[in-house]
Amino acid sequence: MSTLEQPPLNVADIDSVLAARERGVVAALVHSQEVWILVAVLVIGAIVGTVAPNFLSGVNIANIATNFCFIALIAIGMTPVIMTGGIDISVGSTLGLTGVTLGLVYSAGYPFLVGVLAVIVVGALVGLVNGLFITYFKLPPFIVTLAMMSMARALTLVVTNNQVVYDFGPAQETLLALGSGKTLGLPNVLCAVIVLALVMQFVLSMTRWGRYVRAVGGNEKAARMTGIPVDAVKVSVYVLVGATTGLTALFLVGWLGAATNALGQGQELQVIAATVIGGANLLGGFGSAVGAVIGSLLLEVIRNALLLAGVNPFWQGLFVGAFILFAVLLEHVRSLRR
């Protein structure tokens, strides 16, 4: 490791001390979890590629590039939630609720844009309820969103009356084109992931709101004492993850061509796993949107590789769990060193 350290500073010269970067750019990359997870993705890809050559085929890569997006989109929204030290386990149910909302709005004959607005508003409302209970009643995020997980799923079942929606009225063509079409050679949903990840990363590091999200996760009491609107920041992250989940429903239903009430079941765990694997700290304070995307990619690569390698799919959960443990251990080791 010594090659990565800085040369000794002349401590008598206070200006040279103050100007020093703690780490160079290369060292910062080597210390970042995103880079290591990306390396893991490439290594797994190379190994599986030699064992099962069709893993690296164009069709399969296109499959992976679409499949991981439905986790990644929500994981981008989950990142600020986890950075404030919160959690939202209701996103799977919210995905279901917004998905069937979309189906019902379109089958009732409303135009495409109304559906887009509807999923974002319904998702944001779910987040608003979560956020208000968490901040103003000071209830633990885990419990509030656990309750919401149950309620949103129940609502999904009630409004669909256990029917699958696959008639999307006049919006059908646009919706299906959005779900399976491409822009600049990339699947639309992948473009959405890339744009949203870059925007989120920018907002987190370059705006007051992003700074406050980090501060709330780092020391909520200190944030409050310095006059940061802590409650508003906390509500905003839940609203944002809800809206992102609604947006994901739009792409997911468009891709599947049907809205079922089982949509998103169990997906909250994959989303949280992806976010944590990508470097978000469940205690708050740290996280990155790009990391969350790479974490989602890792989960999908594992799933896909096991499938192609002919491994009984029942084993998948074991590998995913092992990677969660690995990521948390990595984070733990890094926090011991600092």
């Binding site: 206070i14 007051r208 700074r211 501060a215 780092g218 006059g227």
Partner: protein, 246 residues
């Protein structure tokens, strides 16, 4: 004229008299040690000066004019800053980010504003240089020593035009070398014309840096004299009540 003057200030919590007719003046650029046993009224006094509590009775004057400070923000606006014992820092942020927490510098136009990281690092670096502390603006606070953390909390008070800094037990939980560092920081605040009220249990620190010492017991001021005219023995006697007043 004193910078800050309390005249006959009292504070009651129900039947409990936390402060009982305290009169105190603080001149610009002086370091006043505030000592007393637990429950002597030090914290209440600091909370009144810092705007956290309104006094139940008596007058609070700044530059000779009476003021009524309702909140800590109002006190800060008047140039009165409090450095709390737990420092109120975010470990996961850089020292520059902590100095500017809640008062971030931005650039851009209209509602489209982004953080001006470079300007904040530059200003934080200047503040650290003024305080002659080896604290780097880019470093995360979690990797800093107790003395450096204290420097970050003090640098935060220098952002506004602070005239009085109240420090609550700044040397209570840090190593001997860091104590020396913090005491040097306090002297540097005085050099820049800021008055410091140092609340401390540590006799050596108070006798090291303070110009004047105020001793509280049971909500009353029992002594207020220049450091040269007293001794640790006398102060101990005043704190415990072995000596009634001086």
């Amino acid at each position: 004229m004193p910078l800050l003057e309390l005249r006959n200030v009292s504070r009651h919590f129900g039947a409990i008299r936390a402060l009982d007719g305290v009169t105190l003046a603080i001149e610009p650029g002086e370091i006043v040690g505030l000592m007393g046993d637990n429950g002597a009224g030090k914290s209440t006094l600091v909370k009144i000066i810092g705007g956290n509590h309104p006094p139940s009775g008596g007058d609070y004057l700044l530059d000779g004019r009476p003021v009524h400070l309702g909140t800590a923000a109002e006190a800060r606006h008047e140039g009165i800053e409090v450095v709390y014992q737990d420092l109120a820092l975010c470990d996961n942020l850089s020292s520059a980010a902590n100095v500017f927490l809640g008062r971030e510098l931005t650039r851009g136009f209209g509602p489209f504003r982004i953080l001006d990281h470079a300007a904040m690092r530059k200003r934080a670096g200047e503040l650290f240089r003024e305080l002659k502390t080896e604290t780097r603006p880019r470093d995360l606070v979690m990797r800093m020593s107790g003395g450096q953390r204290q420097a970050v909390a003090i640098a935060r008070t220098r952002l506004g035009r602070s005239r009085i800094v109240l420090m609550d037990e700044p040397t209570a939980a840090i190593s001997v070398r860091q104590i020396t560092e913090v005491l040097a920081l306090i002297r540097r605040l005085r050099e820049q014309g800021t008055a410091v009220v140092l609340i401390s249990h540590r006799m050596p620190d108070v006798f090291d840096v303070c110009d004047r010492i105020v001793v509280m017991r049971r909500g009353r001021k029992v002594a207020d004299k220049p450091i040269a005219q007293t001794s640790p023995e006398e102060v101990t006697a005043l704190i415990t009540g072995a000596k009634a007043a001086a």
